[in-house]
Symmetry: C2
Subunit: 345 residues, 2 copies
């Protein structure tokens, strides 16, 4: 049974949902945070009460404290008070950064996320992780706080190009691999083009909700959502400094292949299961043929928020549909998976 | 009956209290945030487990996002993880800024405040207001979160000069004026030099605790703690840009005189009560003889976090020992009190 969080509404009439919230909360000002894409593609699809429009540049490379400062400055100039409302209309960057900006502006104002990408609909808008990158470290500054509401409109997905859609598909695959072997078998049967998003999106939200409700501040179980993310984040950070930036879901997909290989080394995955995961990801994603070395990734890995005094911790599949967290892995094993990458793909 | 918050310990053996907490929490790293004063005067009085020392410059003018960034950078360099602990050893700036830095570092680590000034012991460390100034606006960026523990050591007060002590005295006076006419009569009987801090500090903490427990996020009652602060903050911000910076308690004391005059205008205070408040403050504080004009203060006033669509809201005494909040006051009345200031003092 799919259980959505109480603060999430899936609806193809998002303006009506928003109107009801505004009627209830009666904010004295409304501001809407957009990037150039959602300003062009999504604002025209919505009817929003009188508001101040705040625009930032799209892209993970702009999910910085400096951008957040520009939002705080715009909210100040727009004379927003503690009784005002910020609507974050966009993907993960807009939701994470806008949510952090709202939660800390005058010690916190209400905010609504309207995720416009598959990635943010199934992942970023659920679970209350807010924040910005800092000194090239991903989500290094932030906090845990649920949005006051999330309005998920499947129609926004029609505004996405295939690369953006696939980036979100990476998280759908992750949610499935860590929790549901039967659903994995069903995913395998359809090509990307034939997936039914109206069903997959609520199902993916429900999986994430189940995990984060059990462990909101990531002291334990929630870490399983980091499958693919330990190496994925490091790789994403590395490529962010090159001309060949990766989308989040692309980096995570590489991370899932590599971290499944760690499970193979630990004999937690059979060769057949590993090959099935690898083949599915390689056939669905355009991913780089060469990766940075361990030496080039190590500083990113050492800053991973899941680490403790034992060293680098992973969340690894122990069989498809099952994930374990706080798995301490030696650097030698990580190096082996990285070295094997070219033969893997 | 004085009731301290559960997370506050008043003790002249702060190292023991800290040791017990560290034993319980077992942080993997400890960092201590100090300024040049607490590094010199307070660190030698303490025994703290092995730690990374992080130093910032003292003074409200350094309670900025840039300083906070330097703390985040130092915590990163010190390899603190989400299981680490930050100890904020200092006054209000250290507690507010350090608390905000800790609450947002890797989405939040534990922090303990060890307030070293009278001001921070009776006020800043209680009630969970964390944050930094932004674009000259006081506490513009921040959040509400209680420290994991507060250790109040009355002996630290012996390290303060008289101007610093009096700055804290301003908040003691405020807590008394808004809540306890009998205590006000007792305060009047002793000169500043003869006050019994071992009794006044816990009493003042208890008053603040009673108010913030009833309304943690300042939707209502908590606003009474802002008596003297609407004009006080604006005046503090104004003077911060001049060579004649004011301490927080000094600015608030001026604010209390002016806002008591607003109560006089509204006939909420008798001429005798107003004169008693004014005389007590003027005799205890060295305050400027000339104030900025309304025009010079208006932009600060318009950004006050208590404002709503009606305009500028004050928390005003309605009789000594009683305070009302969300009192909308016309600019003409504010101007009148400001103009009267020189005759008042």
């Amino acid at each position: 049974m799919d259980q959505l969080p109480s603060y999430v509404t899936v609806s193809d009439q998002p303006s009506d949902v928003l109107g009801t919230l505004v009627e209830k909360w009666k904010p004295d000002h409304v501001a809407v945070l957009v990037d150039e894409n959602t300003k062009r593609c999504c604002i025209p699809l919505l009817s929003i009460p009188e508001h101040t429009l705040v625009e930032i540049k799209s892209g993970e490379e702009n999910k910085t404290l400096r951008t957040c400062e520009s939002v705080w400055t715009a909210l100040t100039a727009g004379k927003l008070t503690r009784k005002s409302l910020l609507i974050n209309l966009g993907g993960g960057v807009i939701g994470d950064l806008g949510g952090f900006a709202a939660s800390t502006f005058k010690r916190g104002i209400k905010f609504v996320n309207m995720p416009t990408t598959l990635l943010s609909q199934v992942d970023a808008s659920i679970g209350g992780k807010l924040g910005v990158d800092f000194n090239d470290l991903k989500n290094h500054i932030g906090l845990f706080q649920d949005p006051d509401h999330v309005i998920v409109n499947p129609k926004f997905l029609e505004t996405l190009d295939s690369r953006e859609m696939k980036s979100g598909y990476g998280e759908v695959i992750k949610h499935t691999l860590i929790s549901d072997r039967d659903q994995w078998s069903r995913l395998l049967k359809s090509s990307f083009e034939d997936q039914d998003w109206n069903s997959l999106v609520p199902k993916s939200i429900a999986i994430k909700n189940r995990v984060v409700t059990a462990d909101p501040t990531e002291n334990g179980l929630r870490k399983i959502l980091n499958f693919g993310h330990t190496l994925g984040h490091a790789i994403e950070s590395y490529f962010m400094k090159t001309p060949n930036k990766l989308l989040h879901g692309e980096a995570i997909s590489i991370g899932m292949v590599l971290e499944s290989h760690l499970s193979l080394q630990k004999e937690w995955l059979s060769q057949a299961d590993f090959a099935q995961i690898r083949d599915f990801i390689v056939s669905n994603f355009t991913i780089p043929t060469a990766l940075p070395t361990l030496e080039e990734l190590i500083n990113y890995l050492l800053q991973d928020k899941k680490n403790d005094s034992r060293g680098i911790n992973f969340s690894l599949l122990n069989g498809i549909g099952n994930c374990e967290y706080d798995v301490n892995v030696s650097l030698a094993m990580v190096k082996k998976s990285l070295s094997a990458y070219q033969e893997l793909i």
